[in-house]
Subunit: 361 residues, 2 copies
């Protein structure tokens, strides 16, 4: 395994090595079926066990009651941007959105394109999305309040979720689902593209509170209705079997190897602290997000001398640290340290960063 | 590899063993990247090469000119059922459909649910979809003519495509794409869920003639517009990377190991002939589809004594032949013999069937 790099990609991102090894191990013969996971029927007992394991582990890890249902819907978070207003808006009620960056902006755009009465309840656009606008005033009139829990591009994260006073929260948790515990009860719907914290690209995990299904308009196309997926356990048509299989293994790893979400959260805090401590103690690196809004998942930073960033990223890659380039829309540097990135990798990065500073600072 | 079964599943279905072995071989380190295919960025040079290889091979294999574009869209053929009328219908023009079974019926239903002026131009429902209604009269008024090239459940297949006299053909080729050559020029759009002939579940391949993109209404949600996928080489958002990677390897196998679509077609004809010959020469088995409409992909049959079918399927499984049960909606038996099912497996099945007849007949 000496040729594996330390992968700090923002997504698709690193997956736990034991999960990858298990997939490889059983790739030609899944569980005595004599077939690959790619070849088994989604109507088989083997796949039934897999999808139900993924659902049950999700419910246990996030402490979801039976009032929630876990769905898998292809198309990523981007398809959810349009499905949410299509399915869950209500006549004569506004839909509320908080704008904390690129992905929130896209979600808002899709709701507006459908002619919904969109209210931008709060935004951090005035300072280039470098902070979380914690001061949210929801007047209780909205059909839902949508926000993005973690912003991969700007490196910000809600440390405490907004209080919508009874209006169902809807949250894009693509980049921090399963990274920390939270109380799901104020949420009407939670969704996450799989390719950061829970698996490969190719599905969104959608957690819906069952009463929200009553809102689904009957005239929508079958494949765009949450109720279609809810009624058929996400198997109205052939689901993305391999992606769901990998998710079930990642969730097993979180539950059985790591020891659950609380422990995962603790490790994630330790990892982030290592890097933020280095950044804060240095004049050489500088964090880009406000301290009370910093992400535990995506550590965004610049070099005080921005002209050195290209060299930093190139040398890092030579030393086996990949994915440190900031998003093409903002530049700079970013270390994405999702669940699967171990403390060992983060320590190694920290050491490299300290060395680089010593050489170039 | 002794524990691999002979897999006659209808989909997800058998994949070429060399493809599975290559995936396994490079699963922890794709092409010197130091990352798994599950972990690389879709914006990386590695993935760019993969998706472009899948597109180029598709164009070469199907002899598509530059007037066609190859897209990958999540959601399977079922999402296409709704995207097609949404994107490609025209004001004041009917949309024409031919009904040859379960999947055609679903496609029709989705167009009707959108309030489109759907004309059922031909149907084989009168005899339980046991034949292809070759006698199609298109009056030239329609925005498009939709049909299903191969019907997995009923075991029928168009041996010669309908003539729509200039009206763009739209075809669901989920179960026979890449199995035989055809002239793409009358087609406005071809789509196929990947999980039968070209890969695992998790994407549809969509081949669109570029002039059809002019029809896309601007007000549609981004993720439901063909133009969004066409403009961004299917990477408006994160695509299902692993699925596209596997497709690229399957297409490489068809092109380089098999030797192209003509050779693939020849092998597929030999395979089907083996089973149909046995069925026709026996009073013990009987085919369910009319001879001029028989599928080369899904051989559907009954036992003359239907009470023996359960035993047949169970004994077959004991002998290492899986997936022979007919679709739950029709019962009976079905051997799906897509591209990846070799002539060796088909011969072995034929021998088993002959033996079973000898024992039980």
């Amino acid at each position: 395994m000496t040729n594996r790099i330390n992968n700090f990609n923002a997504g698709p991102a690193a997956l736990p090595l034991p999960v990858l090894e298990q997939i490889r191990e059983e790739f030609l013969d899944l569980n005595g079926s004599g077939m690959s996971i790619l070849e088994i029927s989604h109507r088989s007992k083997w796949f039934d066990k897999i999808i139900n394991e993924a659902i049950e582990r999700t419910k246990r890890l996030l402490k979801l009651g039976d009032d929630f249902q876990v769905l898998f819907i292809q198309g990523g978070a981007s398809l959810q941007f349009c499905m949410i207003p299509m399915n869950l808006s209500l006549e004569n009620k506004p839909v509320d959105y908080i704008n904390t960056g690129t992905w929130s902006t896209k979600a808002i755009k899709e709701a507006e394109a459908q002619g919904k009465d969109v209210r931008a309840l709060a935004s951090s656009e005035d300072r280039n999305f470098a902070y979380i606008p914690y001061d949210v005033k929801e007047d209780g009139r909205a059909a839902y309040l949508h926000f993005t829990s973690n912003n991969t591009i700007k490196g910000t994260q809600w440390t405490k979720f907004p209080d919508a006073g009874g209006v169902p929260l809807i949250c894009d948790m693509s980049s921090d689902i399963m990274s920390r515990p939270f109380d799901a009860s104020p949420f009407g719907l939670i969704y996450a593209g799989a390719q950061k914290n829970i698996g490969p690209s190719g599905t969104a995990m959608v957690i819906i509170r069952k009463d929200m299904l009553d809102r689904v308009p009957s005239g929508l196309p079958s494949m765009l209705k949450y109720s279609t997926f809810a009624e058929k356990n996400s198997m109205f048509n052939t689901p993305p079997c391999f992606v769901i299989y990998t998710i079930s293994l990642v969730l097993r790893w979180i539950e059985e190897t790591i020891g659950g979400i609380d422990r995962m959260d603790q490790i994630n805090r330790e990892k982030a602290a290592l890097l933020y401590k280095l950044i804060d103690s240095s004049g050489f690196y500088k964090g880009t997000a406000d301290k009370d809004s910093r992400s535990l998942m995506n550590i965004t930073f610049r070099l005080a001398d921005e002209g050195l960033e290209k060299k930093f990223i190139a040398e890092a890659l030579e030393h086996g640290f990949g994915g440190l380039k900031g998003h093409r829309s903002v530049g700079g540097c970013r270390a994405s340290i999702y669940n699967a990135t171990g403390i060992v990798q983060v320590k190694a990065l920290k050491n490299f960063m300290a060395d680089f500073e010593k050489r170039e600072g």
